[in-house]
C-alpha cells in the first residue's frame, strides 16, 4: 500500500509522535507513514482540499481549527464505531469530525537557574514588585485574558461568562495593563523557551511540552501549574482523502491506550482517553497537565467563545497593543 | 546603377527628413553625399542599404525596385561610421562573415579573406580581435569585410569620422585607390568638405533633405548654384545686390552703394533676393591685372593665419568683406588704410536664394 500521509505540527511534538506512534504503526501494519509538517494554518488544509487533490490522509489539528473546519465541512465525518467508545474520552474532546489525542497546557514558566525566588502561582506573573523583570506572553488575546481574570480572582468556571461582558473584558485588559510595558510577546511556541534561555524575560507563559524539552537539552526551567489553561489536539481526516478507511484505521491505532500513552514518554502531553491515562508510566505522569495534582485550578480553553468573539476581541487587543 | 525616384522619408510623420530625392548613381563612380549634420545623408544611405523604408517614392537597384528586398538580399557592402565590427569574432571571422551566408567555406573562404586583408594591407592580423587593433586598422577591417563578397556597390557612412587628421588623409587615399583598382561603385557620406573635394568623382550637396547641387568637385567649388552651396564649401562673402542685365555672357549687378560689378551666373535671374558671392582667396590686391572688377576698400582688421593673412574689409558703403591673401602679399597692408582690390567676373557668382 502507499504510505499513509500524516501531517502534524513538527518540532518536538512530532518527534514524539514519530517515536510513539508512527514507527509503531509502520511496524505493526507494514504501511509506512510519510510525515509532513505545517504551522497549524487552516488555510493550508483548505487550499489542499480546494485544489481537488487531497494528498494528506490524516492531520493533527488544534481545537479552533477543528471547530472551524468541522463547521465548514472540510473534514470527513468520523465513524466512531471504528475508533472506540466515545465515553472513554474526556468531556469536550470528541467531535463529529475529530478524535481528541492529547491535552497540552499553557503554563507559567521560569528559569530556575536565574531566579533566586521562584514564582508559585499564576498571580506572580502580575506581581512586578516581588518578581521584577520582563514577562513573556503569547501574542494572542486567548489565554492572556483568561490568565488576567484568573489572576484577578475570578474563579475558573466564571471566566468566560465574565469575559463575555464588556465590564469583564475591560477588567481583563486593565489587569494586563499593569504589566503591559514589561511584556515581551512571543508568537511561535519555540520562542517562549528561547526567551527564557536568552534571559530576555524572567518568566513567560509557555506550552508545557516546550519547557519540558528545553529541560531535556540541559536547561533548568520551572513550571507553575497553578491556573494552567488546557487545550487539546485532534486527529482529523481532510475531505477527499484517498483512503478514508486507512485513515480511520490509523487514527484508531494512534489513540489506542498503549500507543497514546507512549507519547508522554517523549513529551509531556497528556492523553485525552481516560483508559490511556492508566498506561502512562508514573515518572512521566508527574509532568503531565492531566496529572491530578496539576489539575486542581486548571481552566479548559473555550474555543467556541473565541470563535464567536475572537474577531472583535482581537481587534481590541491589536489596538491595545499599539497604544 | 542606383536610382532614387521622388523619395521622401519621415520618422515622425511631421517633418520630412528627406524631402524629394532624385538621384542616379553611375556604375563605377565615387559619389559623395556631403552636407551638414541632420541633412538626411545617413537616412538616404540607410534607405539604400535597406535599413529604413522610404515613406514615399522608389529606389531602383540595377533597374529593380528594392522596397521589398531585405538588406541581407541586396548584396551591398556597407561600412558604418563606427565600423560595427563584431567584437566577439577575430578579424578573419569578421571578414569571413559574409562568405558564410553565400555558401563559401573552407579553403576558398580562407583564400578570399586573405586576399581582402591583403588588399587593405592587414596581412597577418587575422587572428586578432577588433579591440586589439588601432582605429585605422579597424577601419580597414570594416572595408575588407564590405568588399570580400565582391558587391557591386559599397556604401560608407562617414567611415573616417573617428580617425585623427593624419590617419584620415592617409585612409582617403587608400579608399580611393581600392575603389579605382576594383572599379566598385561607391556612395560615400561625409560632412567634411575637403574630404569630399579630395576623393569624389561627383558630389551631391545635401541640405534640409534636398540635394542642393550635384556635380564634380571643381564645378562645385567654382560655380556653386546657390548660396547654401557657396557658403558650405569654402569660405565666402555674400553681398546683396540688384540685377542690371547681362551682356556677352556676363551679368551686371549694382551693389548697395551703387558700385557696378561684372558677375557670372544665370542670364535672367527672376528673383529679387539676389546676392553676389565672393571667395576670400579670389580677392587680390589691385595689381592692374586683367580682373574685370576693381574696388576700393578700408582695412578694418588683419589677422595672421600662418601661410595667409586674413583681412577684414569695409567696402560698398558699409558691407563687411573678408579677403585672404598670401602672407607675403598681405604683409604691406595696414589696418586703417584704404586698399584697392580686384577680382574677376568668373569669381563673382550671382546667386539666388
Amino acid at each position: 500500500a502507499d504510505p499513509l500521509s500524516v501531517m502534524s505540527f513538527g518540532g518536538a511534538y512530532q518527534d514524539a509522535q514519530r517515536k510513539a506512534v508512527f514507527s509503531a504503526y509502520a511496524e505493526e501494519t507494514g504501511r509506512a507513514v510519510s510525515e509532513q509538517e505545517y504551522g497549524g494554518e487552516i488555510a493550508k488544509i483548505k487550499a489542499m482540499i480546494d485544489s481537488g487533490n487531497t494528498t494528506i490522509d490524516v492531520v493533527d489539528v488544534d481545537a479552533p481549527t477543528l471547530l472551524q473546519g468541522c463547521d465548514e465541512g472540510i473534514f470527513e465525518t468520523i465513524d466512531w464505531e471504528k475508533i472506540g467508545p466515545k465515553s472513554e474520552w474526556l468531556a469536550g474532546t470528541t467531535s463529529d469530525c475529530g478524535v481528541g489525542t492529547i491535552v497540552y497546557a499553557t503554563v507559567l514558566s521560569y528559569d530556575e537557574d536565574k531566579l533566586e525566588k521562584a514564582p508559585t502561582k499564576l498571580a506572580d506573573l502580575f506581581d512586578l514588585a516581588t518578581f521584577p523583570g520582563k514577562r513573556g506572553l503569547w501574542k494572542n488575546p486567548a489565554t492572556n485574558l483568561e490568565f488576567a481574570l484568573l489572576a484577578d480572582g475570578v474563579p475558573s468556571q466564571d471566566v468566560y461568562a465574565t469575559l463575555a461582558t464588556p465590564d469583564g473584558l475591560d477588567r481583563a485588559f486593565a489587569k494586563l495593563d499593569t504589566i503591559k510595558d514589561q511584556i515581551v510577546w512571543w508568537e511561535a511556541g519555540a520562542q517562549a523557551p528561547q526567551l527564557l534561555a536568552s534571559g530576555e524575560v524572567t518568566m513567560t507563559t509557555a506550552w508545557n511540552g516546550r519547557i519540558f524539552n528545553a529541560n531535556k537539552e540541559g536547561r533548568n526551567f520551572g513550571i507553575v501549574w497553578d491556573n494552567q489553561i488546557l487545550d487539546s489536539n485532534y486527529w482529523v481526516i481532510p475531505k477527499g482523502a484517498k483512503d478514508v478507511e486507512g485513515s480511520l484505521a490509523f487514527i484508531r491505532f494512534a489513540v489506542e491506550p498503549k500507543v497514546l500513552a507512549g507519547i508522554a514518554k517523549y513529551i509531556p502531553y497528556g492523553p485525552v482517553r481516560s483508559t490511556a491515562a492508566a498506561e502512562v508510566a508514573p515518572e512521566d505522569a508527574r509532568n503531565l497537565p492531566t496529572s491530578p495534582a496539576n489539575l486542581t485550578t486548571s481552566l479548559t480553553l473555550d474555543n467556541a467563545f473565541w470563535a464567536d468573539h475572537g474577531d472583535e476581541i482581537r481587534k481590541r487587543f491589536t489596538t491595545w497593543l499599539s497604544n | 546603377m542606383v536610382v532614387f525616384e521622388r523619395v521622401q522619408k519621415t520618422y515622425d510623420g511631421r517633418t520630412l527628413v528627406v524631402e524629394d530625392l532624385n538621384l542616379a548613381v553611375r556604375r563605377g563612380e565615387f559619389l559623395t553625399m556631403l552636407g551638414p549634420s541632420g541633412s538626411g545623408k545617413t537616412t538616404t544611405l540607410m534607405m539604400l542599404g535597406g535599413f529604413e523604408q522610404p515613406t514615399n517614392g522608389r529606389i531602383l537597384l540595377e533597374g529593380q525596385a528594392v522596397e521589398r528586398l531585405p538588406p541581407e538580399r541586396r548584396d551591398i557592402g556597407f561600412v558604418f561610421q563606427n565600423y560595427a565590427l563584431f567584437p566577439h569574432m577575430t578579424v578573419a571571422d569578421n571578414v569571413g562573415f559574409p562568405l558564410r551566408y553565400r555558401g563559401i567555406r573552407g579553403a576558398e573562404a580562407a583564400r578570399r579573406v586573405a586576399e581582402a586583408l591583403a588588399m587593405v594591407r592587414l596581412d597577418g592580423l587575422g587572428e586578432r580581435r577588433p579591440a586589439q587593433l588601432s582605429g585605422g586598422q579597424q577601419q580597414r577591417v570594416a572595408l575588407a569585410r564590405a568588399m570580400v563578397f565582391k558587391p557591386k556597390l559599397i556604401l560608407m557612412d562617414e567611415p573616417l569620422g573617428a580617425l585623427d587628421k593624419q590617419l584620415r588623409e592617409h585612409m582617403q587615399i587608400e579608399i580611393r585607390r581600392i575603389q579605382q583598382q576594383l572599379g566598385i561603385t561607391m556612395v560615400y557620406v561625409t560632412h567634411d568638405q575637403s574630404e569630399a573635394l579630395t576623393m569624389s568623382d561627383r558630389i551631391a550637396v545635401f541640405n534640409d533633405g534636398r540635394i542642393q547641387q550635384l556635380s564634380d568637385p571643381v564645378t562645385l567649388y567654382d560655380r556653386p548654384e546657390n548660396r547654401f552651396v557657396a557658403g558650405f564649401i569654402g569660405d565666402n562673402n555674400t553681398l546683396p545686390c540688384e540685377f542690371l542685365g547681362s551682356e556677352n555672357g556676363l551679368a551686371f549687378v549694382r551693389m548697395k552703394d551703387g558700385t557696378r560689378l561684372a558677375a557670372s551666373g544665370p542670364a535672367h535671374p527672376a528673383r529679387s533676393d539676389l546676392t553676389v558671392s565672393l571667395r576670400p582667396e579670389r580677392l587680390g590686391l589691385d595689381d592692374a591685372g586683367s580682373a574685370e572688377n576693381r574696388i576700393k576698400a578700408r582695412v578694418l582688421d588683419k589677422t595672421f593665419l600662418g601661410d595667409r593673412v586674413r583681412l577684414t574689409l569695409e567696402a560698398f558703403g558699409t558691407e563687411r568683406l573678408v579677403a585672404s591673401l598670401p602672407a607675403a602679399e598681405g604683409a604691406a597692408v595696414l589696418p586703417g588704410r584704404d586698399v584697392g582690390m580686384a577680382f574677376s567676373a568668373a569669381d563673382c557668382r550671382l546667386l539666388a536664394r
Binding site: 518540532g11 487550499a47 537539552e217 | 531585405p70 538588406p71
Partner: protein, 269 residues
C-alpha cells in the same frame, strides 16, 4: 583621488570623518552576513552567545534530515524551472522593448517592472487564490509560475541594460553582409548580450531560490522549499540547523558572487 590636491585642512578632516563613516556603514552591511557562522557550530540548541561548546551536529542534521534535503532539492528544481521560463520570456521581451517603435513602451515597462515592487504578500495571496481555483496550489507548477513572474523583471532589466550598450549597427552590419534576422541574432546579438542574459538568469535564480512568502502560501508539504523550511524553523522550532543551512547558503552565494565578479573582471581585461 580621495582628496583633491587643493583641499584645505578642515576639508581634509571632514573628508577623513566621512571616509571612516562610510567604512563603518560597509561594515554594517557586511558584518551581519557572517554572524550565522559561529552559531552554526555551537552545540547549544538555542541562539545564545557566548558559545559554550562547538559541534558539527547541526550540519550533520541538515545533511541527514530528509526534510531539509527534500526542501533543498525542491528549491533547486523550482528555481531552475522558473529561471528557464523567466529568462526565455524576459529576454524575448527585452529584445522587443529595445526595438525602436515599440508601442506604449512606458506602460509596458511599468507593468513588466511591477512584480519587483509589488508587496510580495499581495502577489502571494493573489496567486494562492487564483491558482487555487485552477488546482495549482500545492503543486510545483503553481510555485514555478509565480516565481517566474517575480523573476521576469530582473531578466528584463538586465537584458535591457545589456542591449543598451549593444550597437544596433552591428545587426545592420550583419544584415548588410547577407545574414538574415535569425542568423544575425544567433551569430551577432546573442553572443554579445550573453553576459547580460546570464546575469539576468542568475538573478532570476536567486529570486526564486530566496523567495519565502509566495512559497509559504503556494507550497504544500511536498513542495516546501528551503526558505520555507528555514522560515518555519526560525518561527516555530528554534533549531540551529537553520544556522547551518544559513551558513551554507551564505557560503554558496558569496562564492557565486565572487565567481561572477571574477568572470566579469576577466572579460573586461
Amino acid at each position: 583621488m580621495w582628496l583633491p590636491a587643493y583641499a584645505t585642512r578642515s576639508e581634509r578632516l571632514c573628508r577623513l570623518a566621512v571616509v571612516l563613516f562610510a567604512f563603518a556603514v560597509l561594515a554594517f552591511l557586511i558584518g551581519p552576513l557572517f554572524v550565522v557562522f559561529p552559531l552554526s557550530v555551537s552545540k547549544d540548541p538555542f541562539f545564545t552567545f557566548p558559545i559554550r561548546e562547538y559541534s558539527w551536529r547541526w550540519y550533520a542534521d541538515f545533511f541527514q534530515n530528509a526534510r531539509w534535503m527534500h526542501s533543498l532539492v525542491n528549491s533547486l528544481v523550482a528555481a531552475a524551472a522558473s529561471t528557464l521560463i523567466a529568462t526565455f520570456l524576459g529576454t524575448l521581451a527585452a529584445l522587443g522593448i529595445s526595438r525602436p517603435g515599440f508601442p506604449a513602451r512606458k506602460a509596458v515597462m511599468a507593468l513588466m517592472i511591477s512584480p519587483m515592487i509589488m508587496p510580495v504578500v499581495i502577489v502571494a495571496v493573489g496567486a494562492y487564490m487564483f491558482f487555487g481555483s485552477l488546482g495549482l496550489t500545492n503543486t510545483r507548477t503553481g510555485l514555478v509560475l509565480a516565481h517566474a513572474a517575480l523573476a521576469i523583471p530582473f531578466v528584463v532589466v538586465t537584458v535591457l541594460s545589456a542591449l543598451s550598450t549593444y550597437d544596433s549597427n552591428l545587426s545592420r552590419a550583419g544584415a548588410s553582409l547577407g545574414a538574415g534576422p535569425v542568423s544575425v541574432f544567433f551569430a551577432v546579438t546573442l553572443p554579445l548580450i550573453l553576459p547580460g542574459i546570464v546575469s539576468g538568469a542568475l538573478l532570476a535564480f536567486a529570486v526564486s531560490f530566496d523567495e519565502v512568502i509566495v512559497a509559504l502560501f503556494l507550497t504544500g508539504a511536498d513542495q516546501r522549499t528551503l526558505p520555507v523550511q528555514m522560515f518555519s524553523g526560525i518561527r516555530d522550532q528554534i533549531n540551529p540547523t537553520i544556522m547551518a543551512a544559513a551558513s551554507l547558503l551564505t557560503t554558496v552565494s558569496i562564492a557565486l558572487f565572487v565567481l561572477l565578479n571574477l568572470i566579469r573582471r576577466v572579460k573586461r581585461a
